[in-house]
Amino acid sequence: MAANMFVVPQTKGSVLCCKCGILMAPNPANMCVTCLRSEVDITEGLRKHATIMHCPECDSYLQPPRTWLKAQLESKELLTYCVKRLETDLKKVRLVNAEFIWTEPHSKRIKVKLKVQKEVLNGAILEQSYVVEYVLQDHMCESCTRFQANPDQWVASVQLRQRVSHRRTFFYLEQLILKHDAAVHAIKIKQMDQGIDFFFANKSHASKFVEFLDKVAPTKRRESKQLVSHDPKNNSYNYKYTFSVEISPICREDLICLPPRVAVSLGNLGPLVICTKVTNNIALLDPLTLRQCFLDPDQYWRYSFKSLLGSRQLVEYDVFNVEVGSPEFNVGGSKYVMADVEVARVTDYGKLFYVRTHLGHILKPGDRALGYDPYGANNNDNELDKYQNLVIPEVILIKKSYEEKRQKKRGEPRPWKLKSLDMELDESKGRGYEEKMNTEYEEFLRDLEENPELRFNLSLYRNKDYQPSEMASVSDGDDVPSVPLEELLADLELSEEEDGDDSMKD
């Protein structure tokens, strides 16, 4: 015997199957597989037929007691669901594999082949596959029933309002909502006077929408509910919820006279300020000192002041002379240059104004500018009256005007376009209202062209119908600002992937 243990190699012999006598390798049952199969049926006692409820409207399947699971035919979710329905059976055996057998969709039958394993006869594990047939019974799910009964039924609504006379904010918000898909769950959207109403089927959807609005605009909100039905035995109550969201009336490019308390609390900011940006905070800029500050929605709604002059009251001025007074300031990301300019109203060349402005970086002699005319305006403002020794500048310039150049390009389509929400329009207004809307929309589009930071949050799509015309080559040196092509997204044709190149080339 050697020092290491010598182990004889063991080869397994073969025995005869005790039933059919064929030669086989010995196994714990000592029967060949066929004999074992004929002897023992491990699928005995397992359900071979089952019934499942299916909602034909939304193609979902009932998971008792109340959940409806949406699944396609022959999908992984449906397979998991079918196997789960047989859970009690499958506790007795071990499931190895499950797959679908194709059935005609109209037959209302689903067949699943299951492969199971079970221990039989002193240790031998037998594997067997069997087919389970599911009968689909049509049964409308609750939400479809409710929808069928009354398609206009809403559970929660959000009433969005802004007490101003224009709809610029709502155009912008519409684009933002589209970009973030905030209103996907809305069952109806209706345009109202001074606002928009959104209707939802679920209170949580409405809450989520209100939260979204909170983030993008300075709002204040209120919530109320109304009892619709009441089940005394169950102690359950059905309500209709209404959220009332009001956006602050301060818009971009508005001229505001701050109440004395606000001016003081903001560090003696000159009472006349321009609103430069409105997100969920309001950015105010003092044009004479170039100081900027931000107001929280809470802070704003505590004082809730209104603007003095709005963008409707902008007047065109011709710039005659520009004297740059100071170097470039960088205020909150935007560059401003203080300058003294000589301007006159386009309608009245007789009166020249010599004023300070913060637009020195873009104005040149011969330009047109848009600004407010406190000199000519008749102000009836409580806040203004509170100041005794206030010197109001005669002209406050806001932005440069590209009106003349736009005249040349009038009527030509833009290379980009915007999508719009599916809104129900207010029927009660007349033709004049419609024209006013169109003009405002046109101005909104121009605004987008001029302000890259306004475009930042939105999605612009390439306009397929646009052909650059020959006129484009004949242009002055100073081009009308337009949207660079790189910012445009290709429009979704068949709801497949969006080929978007969203780089900001600024």
Binding site: T11, G13, V15, L16, C18, K19, G21, A29, N30
Partner: protein, 245 residues
């Protein structure tokens, strides 16, 4: 000739009976069917004795023997011992042995020439076996099981062993025992061979669950088809008479 039978609805015939070439021991059962089957086969050739060992009926597993002798465990009562001595032929030596492993039927498998024993058997017991049964003793395992008496059954003509026995083991055992061996099952795939059947040189008794395949295997390996009891016993008688004189 292999016969299928049952003891009180149990197919484990080898537990309740012990068959050798010179005698047959049968347990005391509820009905006489078991005994009468044995009698009808063997009565005019060898004595069929009804007995109990240690007050139990599992006599097949408690005792071991061949034509030369019979070994019974230490807990056999005196009456049983006396009964056995009286009933069995005189040339069969009945001996009670003191052994820790008292289920001698499970520990010892023997025919008239060779015996396989449990590996942990006492040295003394081994000597007694060699002496009383007149056999050569080998300590072995069968398919890794130490209870050789349960997992194999062999006679002077052939043997049946546990189905999982490897080919090398089969060859080795065959060389030791000098008889052809086959690995197979009894009673519809049961691996405990000796519990399911009992065999001598010309006949075998199997549990009623034994399938036709198993039965044919048994008949072929133990060469039962052409065997006639009279021929064998005559041979024995001749040799006996020879020595007597």
């Amino acid at each position: 000739m292999a016969t299928r039978l049952q003891f009180e609805n149990s197919c484990d015939v080898g537990v309740f009976s012990k068959l050798t070439n010179a005698y047959c021991l049968v347990a005391i059962g509820g009905s006489e069917n078991f005994y009468s089957t044995f009698e009808s086969e063997l009565a005019d050739v060898i004595p069929v004795v009804k007995t109990s060992i240690a007050g139990t009926r599992i006599i097949g597993r408690l005792c071991a023997g061949n034509k030369n002798g019979l070994l019974v465990p230490h807990n056999t009562t005196d009456q049983e011992l006396q009964h056995l001595r009286n009933s069995l032929p005189d040339q069969v030596v009945v001996r009670r042995i003191e052994e820790k492993l008292s289920a001698l039927g499970n520990c010892i498998a023997c025919n008239d020439h060779v015996a396989l024993t449990h590996t942990d058997l006492d040295k003394e017991t081994e000597e007694i076996i060699a002496d009383v049964l007149g056999v050569e003793v080998f300590r072995q395992t069968i398919a890794g099981n130490i209870l050789v008496g349960s997992y194999c059954a062999f006679s002077n003509r052939g043997g049946l062993v546990h189905p999982h026995t490897s080919i090398e083991d089969l060859d080795e055992l065959s060389t030791l025992l000098q008889v052809p061996l086959v690995a197979g099952t009894i009673n519809r795939g049961s691996e405990v061979i000796a519990a399911g059947m009992t065999v001598n040189d010309w006949t075998a008794f199997c549990g009623s669950d034994t399938t036709a395949t198993e039965l044919s295997v048994i008949e072929s390996v133990f060469k039962l088809r052409e065997a006639q009891p009279s021929a064998i016993v005559d041979e024995m008688r001749k040799s006996l008479i020879d020595t007597c004189v």
